[in-house]
Symmetry: C2
Subunit: 385 residues, 2 copies
Amino acid sequence: MAMKRVAATAVRAISSSESPVLPTTFSRELHASPGSKKIVGVFYKANEYAKLNPNFVGCVEGALGIREWLESQGHQYIVTDDKEGPNSELEKHIEDLHVLITTPFHPAYVTAERIKKAKNLQLLLTAGIGSDHIDLNAAAAAKLTVAEVTGSNVVSVAEDELMRILILVRNFLPGHHQVISGEWNVAGIAYRAYDLEGKTVGTVGCGRIGRLLLQRLKPFNCNLLYHDRIKMDPELENQIGAKFEEDLDAMLPKCDVIVINTPLTDKTRGLFDKDRIAKCKKGVLIVNNARGAIMDTQAVADACSSGHIAGYSGDVWYPQPAPKDHPWRYMPNQAMTPHISGTTIDAQLRYAAGVKDMLERYFKGEEFPAQNYIVKEGELASQYR
Amino acid sequence: MAMKRVAATAVRAISSSESPVLPTTFSRELHASPGSKKIVGVFYKANEYAKLNPNFVGCVEGALGIREWLESQGHQYIVTDDKEGPNSELEKHIEDLHVLITTPFHPAYVTAERIKKAKNLQLLLTAGIGSDHIDLNAAAAAKLTVAEVTGSNVVSVAEDELMRILILVRNFLPGHHQVISGEWNVAGIAYRAYDLEGKTVGTVGCGRIGRLLLQRLKPFNCNLLYHDRIKMDPELENQIGAKFEEDLDAMLPKCDVIVINTPLTDKTRGLFDKDRIAKCKKGVLIVNNARGAIMDTQAVADACSSGHIAGYSGDVWYPQPAPKDHPWRYMPNQAMTPHISGTTIDAQLRYAAGVKDMLERYFKGEEFPAQNYIVKEGELASQYR
């Protein structure tokens, strides 16, 4: 894949398509006090990889590509990957920062305690999607604004989910491991390799990512099901070709493949525990690019060992980075990766542009695109309540 | 994935949908002499995997699930995986077999010399698609009939190709290797991970598999190109959403991803040599589930090492099984597997049913489904000429 630097105009074009222009007469919801701001970004460090691609903006070294712009306006911009413990770089700045930017790929956990310490904090931005690294109730109580770049990587994640479905259904990894270990044993792969065609795939949660996944699944001639709080309108449902399942526990035993597409909330934490996994079909394949904590870690590992889950793939873990002894690293039939699906180069360019756009609006005291808000004026967005 | 035995009626249903009923008044093209036949099947051996799935019919042990049926009609049915050299099981039977069934996954190479020795041979059947393991000119000269189960695994291969495109574009394997080796380094994956959306994907050859791939690619919002001997009719082209490229060498530099979907013929053998690979975009990703010998083995390995090819994935090699020292096992950025894409359990059930159907017609002296023929009455099918 070519590694040309994307022209600044292209980044702007992405930004404006992701952030519809709002009427300029909106009231100032976010009171950015005038003057210089202290902005801290917490991203993953790229080290030797930083210079290998000029569009690699999502790392510490790339710093979202906004350093020059911020500093030229007199703001202070500190970027680090050192986020844990009392002596971390983040902790040093927590007391006087105004804005904290972080990503789900290397999240700065914003606890109630940190919020209490952060006397100047006004704005918490996610470079990407999701804010479960933040204690949202504490943020709401402190009247902070929490926002994400909604839509910035939904396509990235949906593509990645479809890849993982195919990897599991077609039993890709045992074949690849044969290649690198000098073996050739087609039978050892084929006895549990299937086509996706004709299988039943159900998504738990059907927001933007779930719908993009279903659209991409349509030509595969599967039986598509979705469970969500809200039924799609009949026209969209018909176009997507998926059937609504009001009762999650009634959908699960029908599915050959289950994909998790729900945010992590108090209601979904630990949703897939031992009992719920037992309700799935024996030999089920599960893909989870949503959040690791939606699953009971040990229950997933046990079900993979027993064969009740025949394959588990995802890029989300709890906690992140996953420790060396995380059981999902060692369970059979896993096709796991570190948290990567939403941080492709294409996604980075989109969420960097989205963060820049929100900072620009913050400095001017303008509204953000409505769909970006997670906490606004002391209230959580509806899907987080 | 559940491993219930598929009901015999389902296999029959698949068979009849793959093999449209022909008028019974057709002339006898294939003169099956009456009486008992000696049929030899060469498949891969499953060993300990044979009993793990009741639908695993494509292996030596499964024997396409037709032993009982053949033997009940007085035919002799020998099944083996031992196919190479003068002392092999196949060689023992070559002189008096009437029918040889084999698969591309573990091909019995049918040379001119073997054809000369096989005095009783009438029929060569591929359980699957492709007959490049057979010297087709020698088969035609000897007036043998060569046929495959056209369509039996086109969906299987197309799905697998899309999986491999995503694995390469999204840089899946380095992430998975981090997981199993206890690491966590998002940057080491992300610096060369992309979305498929917006990229240019070109297929070299656009027969049934190529079209199924393009249909599955459509919702990914790529720029789709195809090169083939024949331009699709405008309506189909418009529906599939791909642009015709008459000149292969003009298409190659436009493609971020190239997929090989052409049969192996005298014209395509070694088609991707050093010079042609040099015409591809630097950083191109190549997927080849067609045949290994379409590529110059060393030229591919060299281009992967230099980075001109940024990723290569496929399940076909030359020869097969790939020897332990095959360079594609060791080149960087490969996502190879043994030859597996067309031998999913679903595909096995379809091609087993298709072979049974052709044997039944052969015993009765009836025509095969027209699209199955590769050599008929001394002539090669048009795409093999």
